[in-house]
């Protein structure tokens, strides 16, 4: 990572427009009041973690898995025991119809 991007992070300011964009991406409905609260929380958090840019990570590989495991694979077998009946599958749903989950109409091409 070059010095340029380091600077970008530590001087990061978050705009209301960014908050709205992120809320859309995250599918979180927010109010006007929350926009500003979140903006401040963002800046507080981003300022704290900006210190990470001081760490020398050149030639370091990222760790996504601490176990070091590889090739943890499953044989292609049906596991009946773990499967839900239709009733169990639907048990906690807000709305069902004839064995289906129901949602208000999503994007169609009419």
């Amino acid at each position: 990572m070059n010095n340029n991007s380091k600077k970008n992070i530590s001087s990061q300011k978050i705009s209301t427009a960014q908050i709205i964009h992120i809320a859309n991406l995250a599918a979180i409905p927010i109010t006007k009041v929350e926009e500003e609260e979140l903006r401040l929380a963002f800046e507080q958090t981003l300022n704290t973690i900006a210190e990470l840019q001081s760490v020398d990570i050149s030639n370091i590989e990222p760790t996504h898995q601490v176990t070091g495991f590889e090739n943890i694979l499953r044989e292609d077998k049906v596991n009946q025991e773990n499967m839900f009946s239709q009733k169990e599958a639907l048990k906690n749903a807000k709305e069902t119809h004839a064995g289906y989950f129901v949602v208000p109409r999503v994007l169609t091409h009419e």
Partner: protein, 458 residues
């Protein structure tokens, strides 16, 4: 007052029939009845607990009542993660660890309050109200497994289960003056536990004594084919290293000169001398500054959270996304931001590289030292309301635990000092290499037995 029994003593008494399950459950239930309203420990109680216990006398855990953090999915028993999104959620399946517990004769007494979605170190983010610290109700119990730690501290169960991503078992255990064991990542299955940060989530016991943790871990741990990160490593008998002492062990004293710990460093250093009197060597060691761990943990955990909490859309179960509390909203959105186009490399990928540095650092330290020890948390329990306006309250409270948690290492917190003015305890955190819970138990047990800080032992 049979509710004050340790797991070990309760098992012994049930074994030699000097105690009946009825006596045990009566005392536990009256303890819950008299305290739960004030402390707000249990969100849901299992009405069938006693009845179930009676069918378990022939199993190793004999029907002992255990409290579960409310992020273990329990079949036919409400599971909320302390979020109103799951207010009506009754799982139709069982988490592997709670299944293991049940199969061994443990009985789920109830589900305990926590920080909503395990986001926090206080229980103040719970959408069902905070839990109070049983040691002093002006204080917080810590979190996120605050309810489970408080349940043990208040003798409202014999033992409990929590989960930890970085501190969520050990920090509340420290604040409540009990024992919290965070196993190696992968030692206990994550299947059926509401995911917070998938790459560090570790279920584990919160108990009255180290011995109790060792006993319980024997029944919780094990490979689970339903969890691809679950270790295919045989499980030792974790009680085997009890009473072995620490003679000739090499102990690294971590974070002694860290700024901000001044308040407790003097007390803690005195307690570290106990190990020397027991025949171990103690060296102050230098490790990578733990403050980077705060940043790494914040980025990794919020990134994973933003993805893990996507499924709460109100369609198949639960309520829709407008019901998230403030803390969950903040975490989901910051995680969304740090993973988004143009930022992932600066944040997420950088964090995972610094994580590698910590792993390497611990590997190096463990070449010389058997275990590493530090305070569990930078101070005593904080007062209620302390999280107000602190977007990173939890991360900063867990400063001393994040680096090792991100590295997947096992650790335990045990009480190591009591402040008589507040009745609050300090916790001692003992960390060992991957899969060496036995060492953690050995060292913690030796300290516990050599000192006066455990309330149940003495």
């Amino acid at each position: 007052m049979n509710n004050k029994l340790t797991l070990k003593k309760a098992l012994d008494k049930l074994n030699d029939k000097s105690l009946t399950l009825e006596e045990l459950y009566n005392d536990i239930n009256s303890s819950i009845e008299s305290q739960n309203k004030k402390l707000n420990v249990y969100l849901t109680l299992n009405r069938d607990a006693f009845e179930t216990a009676n069918t378990n006398l022939n199993k190793p855990l004999k029907g002992i009542p255990i409290a579960l953090k409310d992020n273990y999915c329990t079949k036919d028993l409400r599971t909320t993660a302390s979020s109103i999104i799951l207010d009506n959620f009754i799982p139709t399946f069982e988490s592997t660890v709670s299944k293991n517990l049940k199969n061994s004769g443990g009985v789920i007494l109830g589900k305990t309050n926590m920080d909503a979605w395990a986001h926090g170190s206080s229980t103040e983010t719970s959408q069902y109200g905070r839990t109070l610290n049983p040691l002093n109700t002006e204080y917080l119990p810590g979190g996120s497994s605050g309810g489970s730690a408080a349940a043990v501290a208040a003798d409202m169960c014999i033992a409990s289960l929590g989960t930890e991503t970085a501190g969520s078992i050990r920090q509340p255990a420290a604040w409540c003056g009990v024992v919290g064991l965070k196993p190696t990542y992968g030692r206990c299955s994550r299947y059926g536990i509401i995911a917070m940060a998938s790459s560090t989530d570790s279920p584990g016991p919160i108990t009255k004594t180290v011995e109790d943790s060792a006993i319980l871990l024997n029944y919780l741990a094990g490979h689970d084919p339903l969890d691809s990160t679950s270790a295919q490593i045989s499980i030792p008998d974790f009680t085997k290293t009890l009473n072995l002492g620490v003679k000739n062990l090499k102990i690294g004293y971590l974070y002694k000169d860290l700024k901000g710990l001044d308040e407790i460093t003097k007390i803690f250093s005195e307690q570290m001398q106990v190990f020397e009197t027991l025949g171990a060597t103690v060296d102050v060691v230098n490790a990578i500054n733990p403050k980077h761990g705060v940043s790494v943990y914040t980025i990794v955990q919020r990134g994973e959270v933003s993805s893990n909490l996507g499924r709460y859309d109100g369609i198949r179960f639960g309520k829709n996304r407008s019901n998230f509390g403030d803390e969950a909203k903040r975490r989901i959105m910051i995680g969304t931001y740090t993973l988004s186009k143009g930022y992932a490399d600066q944040y997420y990928n950088t964090a995972q590289k610094v994580r590698t540095l910590y792993i390497q650092d611990f590997k190096k330290l463990f070449k010389t030292y058997d275990v590493l020890i530090s305070p569990t948390s930078p101070g005593y329990a904080k007062k209620i309301g302390a999280t107000q306006g602190q977007a990173m309250f939890g991360e900063l409270e867990d400063l001393l635990l994040e680096a090792s948690s991100l590295s997947g290492l096992p650790g335990i917190s045990i009480p190591c000092y009591k402040d008589d003015k507040t009745n609050l305890y300090l916790g001692m955190n003992i960390v060992a290499p991957m899969y060496r819970e036995d060492l953690v138990i050995q060292v913690a047990d030796a300290f516990e037995k050599a000192t006066k800080w455990n309330r149940w032992r003495n």
